[in-house]
């Protein structure tokens, strides 16, 4: 086995040793370091020092104890006081969040496992959305007539890619300041109607947003501007 002869290369790898020890490196970097450790005795000796530091840092931090119960009392006292002064609006018709929460139980691998499973996931998703829509329709709407407002604004219809995770869909909608307002549409195919803006945008602007969204192929399977 050949030791790493170039000190700069060793130093570059050495800088990554703390993250290798905690397992937070990418697979590629981790493999690189494993190979270097096997070939370079000096690097392996230095890695042993890193592991020693890691163990002692954990011991040190674990010896620091925990905050007293008064912290939690103070925190929730402050929360209660804040809520009494200015109560939050009741949960809104945040379909994306509800889908996100429901689908959080599915791992990306599960969702992408097979076409059948993906199709099933879409069916389940559709069922949940329908249930949520029906539930919200009959719920008190202190925050305003949420469902009545689905006809105001600029819209698109979208089918999410089967491999898109719940958090990705949520982040995607958030990034575009879009919201999920309706779905699955009767047209079928797991289509959902999303609002791109509260107001009516010029067709050119809508087209631009739709085009940008279409580029995100990991999340969007199909998208088109809609009335």
């Amino acid at each position: 086995m050949n030791a790493i002869s170039k000190e700069p290369e060793r130093q570059e790898l050495e800088m990554l040793l703390p993250w290798h020890a905690t397992g937070t490196l990418s697979r590629r970097d981790s493999d690189r370091i494993e190979r270097a450790l096997a070939a370079d005795g000096e690097l392996a000796r230095r890695y042993a020092l890193v592991r020693e530091e890691l163990a002692e840092t954990i011991h040190l931090n674990e010896s620091l104890g925990a905050p007293s119960a008064r912290v939690m009392e103070k925190l929730f006292g402050a929360i209660d006081a804040e809520e009494a002064r200015a109560p939050r609006r009741p949960p809104s018709f945040d379909l994306a969040a509800r889908i996100s929460e429901f689908l959080a139980g599915f791992t990306p691998r599960t969702l992408a496992w097979a076409t059948g499973v993906a199709a099933l996931a879409i069916l389940v998703q559709a069922g949940v959305i329908t249930a949520v829509v029906l539930k919200d329709d009959s719920a008190p709407v202190n925050g305003g007539p949420k469902l009545a407002s689905v006809n105001r604004g600029s819209f698109a219809v979208v089918r999410f890619a089967p491999q898109a995770t719940a958090s990705e869909i949520t982040n995607f909608l958030g990034a575009y300041k879009a919201s999920l307002v309706e779905g699955p549409l009767k047209a079928g195919g797991g289509l959902y109607r999303i609002r791109l803006a509260e107001g009516a945008l010029p067709p050119g602007d809508v087209g631009k947003i739709v085009h940008q969204m279409q580029e995100e192929s990991r999340i969007v399977g199909f998208i088109a501007a809609a009335d």
């Binding site: 937070t24 011991h59 931090n61 925990a66 905050p67 925190l75 929730f76 804040e82 969040a97 958030g174």
Partner: protein
């Protein structure tokens, strides 16, 4: 059984779910406290600060973007509040070594014995690092944060995270050497 993810809890907190807040607090308060107390070195201040950190989480949950993990987001808030508290206490310099502030326990016979223990000495020297070095060492070794996450929490480039951690380790080796422990590096 799968526990509710932090991201889902944040979504519930954004809708005013107090129970979700309790779950999130139970899950993270000890680690956030330890991160803060290592920076501010005062238990009462640390307790006040974590209360403020979680109150901010309650207030800002609706604005959480999910660009980082919830724990990374909370540690970033905790760091900001700790530094603000330190600025109000000018006697605590954030970027200076704190070895002078570490109590000399040499006169205590029990601890003198303990000092001979390498483990105790390493911990003493870890505690003696500057706050800037302590925080990267803690984030990497104790809070399991990746290079990218440390960069997000501390607000520095990833390359700086690597070099700062490297120099923190070098400084630790120097402190150990001064205590009589020669590690053959750097």
């Amino acid at each position: 059984m799968q526990s509710t993810s932090d991201e889902v809890l944040i979504g519930r907190i954004a809708n005013g779910d107090r129970l979700a807040m309790q779950v999130l607090y139970a899950r993270h308060h000890v680690r956030v406290f330890r991160f803060v107390i290592r920076l501010v070195r005062n238990e009462t201040t640390a307790e006040d600060l974590i209360s403020e950190v979680f109150l901010d989480v309650w207030r800002q949950a609706g604005r959480f973007q999910g660009r980082s993990s919830v724990s990374t987001w909370m540690l970033a808030i905790a760091r900001f509040k700790s530094l603000s508290a330190l600025r109000r206490r000018p006697e605590e310099e954030f970027d200076e070594d704190s070895t002078a502030a570490i109590e000399d326990e040499a006169d205590d016979p029990h601890l003198t014995l303990e000092k001979k223990d390498k483990s105790a000495l390493i911990q003493k020297c870890l505690a003696g690092l500057s706050a800037q070095h302590r925080e990267v060492i803690d984030l990497v070794y104790y809070h399991d944060k990746s290079v990218e996450e440390v960069a997000a929490i501390v607000g520095i480039p990833e390359s700086t995270v690597k070099t700062r951690t490297f120099y923190a380790r070098k400084r630790l080796a120097e402190l150990l050497k001064a205590e009589g422990i020669e590690r053959g590096w750097p």
